[in-house]
Symmetry: C2
Subunit: 143 residues, 2 copies
DNA sequence: TTTGCTATTGATAATAGTTATCTTCACAAT
DNA sequence: ATTGTGAAGATAACTATTATCAATAGCAAA
């Protein structure tokens, strides 16, 4: 099982309550929050925590390969405690961001590498559309 | 064959030399330039053109479905006069952005739609790695 | 436990890409 | 020619993110 505290210590980073709080919150959600979403959720429990600290914690986690940054076309980044690359899908109506099962993408990297001659190291796959919930609301006339 | 002037007129937009210049430049390049890259390239021929005009032209083109906006993880957007969704690959060394042949992605949308229940309208596929040129430079010791 | 070093925090200023504002200009319709 | 309106250019405003810096706190050594 993965342990934030161990990784921080191994790499010479200090273990602070702020870092633990940010990481735990991100780890415990499926909603791919942005920095300010994390900040707002932390406010009640950690009212003195600065937004800058949220950004700096995320920066450290990125360096350590513990989180990944997503850009789904908004003017801000979202974050994912699942650092393994996997496709995401965004609802253009309600804005939520969800994971896509990536079985079907298994040999994609290999194919792209062969086609382009690139030595591939990463990929970001984003899909956009209307989620089942928003489709339902639409036909039933809910705004 | 596609005609910018016709589309602008049809939709009630004025045909201006600035819009034509921005579009022609974007249409004639494969490098997926950002707004300021376009602006800088236009400077010699159109020294009075404002950066704001570049942005506003791109905005119009987006509305008309004539261009697409790319985000390859930089802190700015890039633009593509090929508005049809197609995968892109970025070299993490030299920063160039290229197209990927999308034959292999034909049935991807359908598969994702089935898996997620989303009504899909769009996708953005970004790959990252090292281009053949940069791989060569690396082994030959060029910085 | 106490001490001391130094990374980290919190507050805030700075940065940079993008958008909004506003005045002037171009130009098409009358 | 006159007039109305969208667009251009200049620049201010905006906003997410990053940098700065004094005060704080984690942690290793004594
Ligand atoms: Mn995810
Ligand atoms: Mn392209
Ligand atoms: Zn939705
Ligand atoms: Zn390269």
């Amino acid at each position: 099982m993965f342990d934030l505290i161990r990784v921080l210590k191994e790499k010479g980073y200090k273990v602070t309550p702020q870092r633990i709080a940010v990481y735990d919150l991100l780890k415990g959600t499926k909603e791919h929050p942005s920095a300010d979403m994390l900040y707002n959720k932390l406010q009640p429990l950690y009212p003195t925590m600065s937004l800058a600290t949220v950004y700096k914690s995320l920066e450290v986690f990125k360096e350590l390969g513990l989180v990944q940054e997503l850009n789904v076309g908004e003017d801000k980044f979202r974050y994912d405690a699942n650092a393994r690359q996997h496709p995401h899908i965004t609802c253009s109506c309600c804005g939520k961001v969800e994971d896509v099962d990536d079985e079907m993408f298994f040999d994609l990297l290999e194919q792209v590498s062969q086609k382009t001659g690139y030595e591939l190291v990463n990929q970001k796959l984003y899909f956009f559309g209307y989620c089942p919930q928003c489709q339902k609301n639409k036909v039933s006339g809910v705004s």
